[in-house]
């Protein structure tokens, strides 16, 4: 214990596990935010990451402060995130339906559809506070032992449902395609998506198996996995000559492996609208269509419709 007595000794002993747990927790929070705020809410992802990181800080800090000698570490949990993500994906559909029907039903002409981001935040707020109130009531009335009476199939069913939602969300985050049984054949037909999914699966399998391979010294296993991951990322960035901005676009791996322009451009196309114009019959380039009823461009007058002309880009 003499080593722990000094501040330096404490820092030397506690810092590596603390840094590792903090890194794991930050990555978890960012992944959860990408899970919930992907798709329709991708433009608000930065706000979502901030909120979830604050939640991770509070969870780690308060539970560590209250833990005392009990030795328990807290974490933001995936079960609630899976349910929130599933409901946030359905929100835009409901919003469209509401905006279509509510004015007619209520007679209010200037009905403003609700902001989806704020709706998701409000749902998160209600879910978390209700969760806390139920926990506090169970603890106050000393009903904690009731957990022992919950049957195993019920617990297993909840965990299996969470696992299925997380699996679907993982496919969506990795490939950008919402998996569904009706579109499963079309999704599988795309070789780009298959290669994308195969890489994500290989990375996940490696992350799962690495601690098993390195089990001889469990103190070093997780550090090794994190450290090796960081080193491989840095070396990959140097070898491919990618910048941090291109990494933020999410196109580093796609560009490095030359899997195709569609996958590489997905990160950029999330912010900019996808090109929808026809290809020019002469130059073969894709042009934007602009509403123009009286003048046509000379270069592709045959391909443009009567109400549009293409402007060379």
């Amino acid at each position: 214990m003499s080593e722990v007595a000094t501040v330096e000794g404490m820092a030397r002993r506690y810092s590596p596990p603390g840094v590792i747990i903090g890194a794991v927790e930050a990555v978890l929070a960012i992944a959860f935010a990408a899970f919930v705020f992907g798709g329709y809410l991708a433009s608000r992802l930065a706000d979502g990451i901030g909120l979830y990181l604050v939640a991770a800080v509070l969870t780690l800090g308060i539970l560590a402060w209250r833990a005392g000698s009990r030795g328990v570490v807290g974490s933001v949990q995936d079960a609630a995130v899976a349910v929130l993500a599933a409901s946030s994906r359905r929100l835009p559909r409901r919003r469209r339906r509401a905006s279509r029907w509510s004015p007619r039903r209520t007679g209010v002409g200037t009905y403003e559809p609700p902001d989806v981001f704020l709706t998701v935040i409000a749902a998160t707020l209600v879910v978390t506070i209700l969760c806390g109130v139920v926990f506090a009531m169970l603890g106050t009335f000393r009903l904690g032992n009731l957990v022992r009476f919950v049957p195993y199939p019920v617990v297993g069913g909840f965990l299996a449902g969470t696992g299925w939602l997380l699996f679907k969300g993982g496919i969506y985050v990795a490939s950008g395609v919402q998996p569904h049984l009706r579109t499963f054949d079309d999704s599988c037909a795309s070789t780009e998506l298959l290669s994308m999914g195969a890489r994500a699966f290989a990375f996940g399998a490696d992350a799962c198996c690495s601690p098993v391979r390195l089990r001889e010294d469990s103190r070093w296993s997780s550090r090794s996995v994190l450290g090796i991951g960081l080193v491989v990322f840095a070396v990959g960035m140097l070898v491919t000559g990618s910048s941090i901005d291109s990494a933020k676009d999410g196109a580093v791996v796609a560009r490095a492996l030359r899997v195709g322009p569609a996958v590489a451009a997905r990160g950029r196309s999330a912010r900019s609208a996808a090109p929808t114009g026809r290809r020019c019959s002469r130059s073969g380039r894709r042009h934007r269509r602009r509403p123009c009823s009286w003048r046509r461009s000379r270069s592709c007058s045959t391909s443009a419709g009567p109400r549009s002309c293409c402007t060379g880009t």
């Binding site: 927790e25 030795g71 328990v72």
Partner: protein, 68 residues
């Protein structure tokens, strides 16, 4: 995992207070995690200090390198 009994009622009260505070700030539910506790236990460190340092690291990620 920890080879000792926990007071489940006390843990539930703590987790409840934590979730009310976190929920008021728009956070997601969080409670005790088996995997991270096992990690701290395997590394033979006190979970309190490790958790506080981890919170400090996550806070640094939030406020010092905030995403655009």
């Amino acid at each position: 995992m920890l080879h000792r009994d926990l007071n489940t009622n006390e843990e539930l009260r703590d987790a409840g207070a934590l979730n009310v505070i976190s929920g008021a700030l728009g956070g997601i539910p969080g409670y005790h995690a088996l995997s991270l506790t096992a990690l701290a236990e395997r590394m033979n460190v006190d979970a309190r200090v490790a958790g506080l340092i981890a919170a400090h690291r996550a806070a640094g990620r939030r406020w010092c390198s905030a995403p655009r």
